[in-house]
């Protein structure tokens, strides 16, 4: 077995209550790394086309990668893969905390849950021992209470009431982190599986442990001194983005009607740090960045605070400026086990629907009254919460308002308005799981990072998402935190004045690099960046940026053909009508120019005009269909 892998897949069948171990396929590990990549390959191979995502036929796959189980910073993440009940296409999400470390130490690379139990169960894994235990006493409990009851000996991945009630954007929670997107928690709920608890003491082998150790020390130092990883994110968490997106007019406000919120500063990471922060305990294991923020919620105590996406989608997007409310709703969503991005996007949609007289949700923009109750009702599918639990796409099909339902492929948009970030718009439109930012994070290169590219210059806008999506696929397969990529720009660039000549020159050069950009990123040379070096030291296989671009493209295209197999078409490679047609900047009269960018994107991907990967593309990437 290649070093860095435990070498085993565990399959648990909830129908028969049986389990078995089998060896990890080395060839697939080489082609797909692990994590999301390996999971997508398994999902494709294990399922018949057209299965109901909430049926026992949909496997729930927990997958780790070669970095997991090590002490590499930001490497305690696992991927969950299944068919998404929210989009009908590929479902996947990653989660931090400490579960990935424990799963790997139990000697398991991949855990596949098949079938469905007839009553609530939980799964306990201790090295080679696998136990299915009744979980009636836990059913109905929130994710906090569930993990507390399960105790500290094991690390847990659990669902809350939202997963049990199959809220279509329910997530799987581990520690205070969540695999939030695409409804993976609803799939776990459909299996009557409340929790997976794991511990173990398998030793993991590395190809060159000394080199790994020495280099990890160097990276820790680099992180410590880095203006983003060691300073901004460490001090303010992800919430520091609020003031940036607000200044760039891309902070979702009032269901994406505007990109600027006058009261943004009071929901920013800086404000949170000054007025609400009580610690950083909720950060992921072994991560020196510690971007988690702990806050006090009245009547609850110290809990993990909101991330940027939550601050925006339950804050500015609802026109709420009181952090205390957002802290509470964030806690409720975490405890119920729900994705706050889809939650916020669905609530803002329902609010606008109500303004049009098409639906009575009982809450309104700018007013916190009734929102806590609504969130609880969504998690329990009670009253109008039952409709909101299905997400904005299904609601718009039922009640109208498709033009302002802010989703792609059924997945609600993250908190970067693509009208001021064109590459991010192309990424949203084409990302296989739908309107999400952490599959590529083009907005970092384009709009919020230290070097920015003119949003109106279309030159690189189809190229950036391809490079970023490929990299994102690789990162989510190692499995590493995508925030690691924010360390790519050296401190010198961060510390440069954006108004200086050198800075402007570098930004211009970047925006006019064209094909050079992709060419450069595709070079199979020496491992340069820390994840490339870690992979090389751990697995013994040379892993440069170019290798990862190729593997990422393979994973991305496999997801694409999975989606096509499940009935998605190029018509879903689009953006909400509001984004395409309503201007958000005072000096423009149109929205996002997706129609001008998509043909080039397809061409560069090696897809035909219908967005289908050609036989040549699939062969070149060694994708078996």
């Amino acid at each position: 077995m290649i070093k860095g892998y435990a070498g085993r897949i565990l399959t648990v069948n909830l129908d028969t209550q049986e389990h078995h171990f089998e060896p990890l396929d080395e060839e697939l590990a080489r082609l797909y790394i692990g994590g999301k990549g390996y999971g997508v390959r398994l999902l494709y191979d294990l399922t018949e086309p057209g299965i109901d995502p909430l049926s026992p036929e949909n496997p729930l796959i927990f997958a780790t990668g070669p970095l997991n189980g090590s002490v590499a910073p930001q490497s305690n993440r696992f991927a969950v893969v299944c068919k998404s009940p929210l989009t009908g296409g590929i479902g996947n999400a990653t989660c931090g905390g400490s579960f990935a470390y424990a799963l790997k130490r139990a000697g398991i690379d991949v855990l596949i849950i098949r079938g469905a139990a007839s009553a609530p169960y939980r799964l306990e894994i201790e090295n080679d021992e696998v136990r299915l235990l009744p979980a009636d006493d836990l059913w109905g409990e929130g994710t906090y209470a569930t993990q507390k009851k399960l105790g500290k000996k094991f690390k847990h991945a659990v669902i809350g009431p939202a997963g049990e009630n199959k809220v279509l954007y329910a997530g799987i929670v581990s520690d205070e982190r969540i695999a939030g997107r695409t409804g993976v928690g609803a799939v776990m709920g459909s299996k009557n599986l409340k929790a997976v608890s794991v511990t173990g003491n398998h030793k993991l082998e590395m190809d060159d442990p000394e080199a790994f150790k020495a280099y990890t020390k160097t990276v820790r130092k680099l992180f410590k001194e880095h203006p983003v990883l060691g300073e901004s994110m460490k001090r303010f968490g992800t919430g520091a983005i609020v003031n940036t997106t607000n200044g760039r007019n891309i902070l979702p406000t009032r269901n994406f009607k505007y990109g600027h919120f006058d009261e943004a500063m009071s929901i920013s990471g800086e404000h949170l740090e000054e007025h609400e922060l009580v610690g950083v305990k909720s950060s992921c294991m072994h991560c020196p960045v510690t971007c988690g923020r702990d806050v006090e919620v009245e009547g609850v105590g110290r809990v993990k605070g909101p991330e940027y996406e939550t601050l925006a989608l339950l804050g500015s997007n609802l026109e709420i400026s009181d952090l205390k409310h957002i802290n509470e709703w964030n806690y409720l969503a975490d405890d119920l086990g729900m994705d706050t991005i889809s939650l916020g996007g669905t609530i803002s949609f329902a609010m606008e629907l109500q303004e049009k007289g098409a639906f009575d949700v009982g809450v309104k923009f700018g007013d916190p009254t009734g929102l806590s109750e609504l969130i609880r009702n969504i998690g329990h599918r009670q009253g109008v919460g039952d409709d909101l639990a299905d997400g904005s796409r299904r609601m718009s099909e039922r009640f109208g308002g498709m033009e302002f339902a802010m989703h792609v492929k059924g997945l609600e948009l993250s908190a970067y308005d693509p009208r001021g970030s064109y590459a991010q718009g192309v990424e949203y439109a084409t990302t296989n799981r739908g309107g999400c930012h952490v599959q590529g994070a083009s907005m970092y290169l384009e709009s919020i990072g230290p070097l920015t590219i003119n949003p109106r210059n279309l030159k690189l806008k189809a190229d950036i998402p391809i490079v970023q999506q490929n990299l994102g696929c690789a990162i989510n397969s190692m499995v590493l935190c995508i925030f690691s990529t924010y360390g790519m720009f050296p401190a010198a660039i961060h510390n440069m004045s954006p108004n200086s000549f050198t800075h402007r020159l570098l930004s211009r050069l970047m925006e006019n690099m064209g094909p050079l950009f992709r060419g450069f990123m595709g070079i199979k040379g020496k491992p340069m960046l820390w994840w490339e070096k870690w992979l090389t030291h751990i697995t013994g296989q040379k892993m440069s940026g170019g290798h990862l671009q190729e593997i990422g493209a393979r994973i991305f295209n496999l997801e694409r053909i999975y989606n096509l197999r499940e009935g998605l078409t190029q018509e879903q490679d689009t953006l909400p009508s509001r984004i395409l047609n309503e201007p958000i900047f005072s000096d423009t009269t149109t929205g996002h120019p997706l129609d001008q960018l998509l043909p080039r994107y397809y061409k560069l991907r090696g897809w035909d005009k219908n967005g289908v990967p050609t036989a040549k593309t699939l062969k070149g990437l060694q994708i078996r269909t």
């Binding site: 901004s232 520091a240 007019n249 971007c291 920015t452 954006p498 108004n499």
Partner: protein, 87 residues
């Protein structure tokens, strides 16, 4: 003619407000000069406060327009924007 200047968090702490209003400005340069007058710091401290902030008019960075010569109009919003990361 009134322009809203959106400050960074650190700047806002100095003046006690997330925004200030300036009037009589025709270009971003004028806005910068008028904004400077609201801060009591010496040149070095003020430069440190603003150095890594880019400037945007109604959300569009001035580096994509005419730099500090970019014209401003009544009702415009000029923002000091710092780079950030997360998600």
């Amino acid at each position: 003619m009134s322009i809203t200047v959106q400050l960074t968090y650190d700047m806002a702490r100095e003046v006690g407000s997330p925004t200030i209003q300036v009037s009589g400005a025709e270009t971003v340069n004028d806005v910068l000069r008028l904004t400077r007058q609201r801060f009591s710091q010496d040149e070095e401290s003020y430069a440190n406060l603003t150095r890594v902030a880019a400037l945007a008019v109604n959300g569009v960075l001035i580096s994509y327009r005419r730099g500090k010569k970019t014209k401003v109009q009544d009702g415009d919003r000029v923002s000091f924007v710092k780079a950030a990361a997360g998600g």
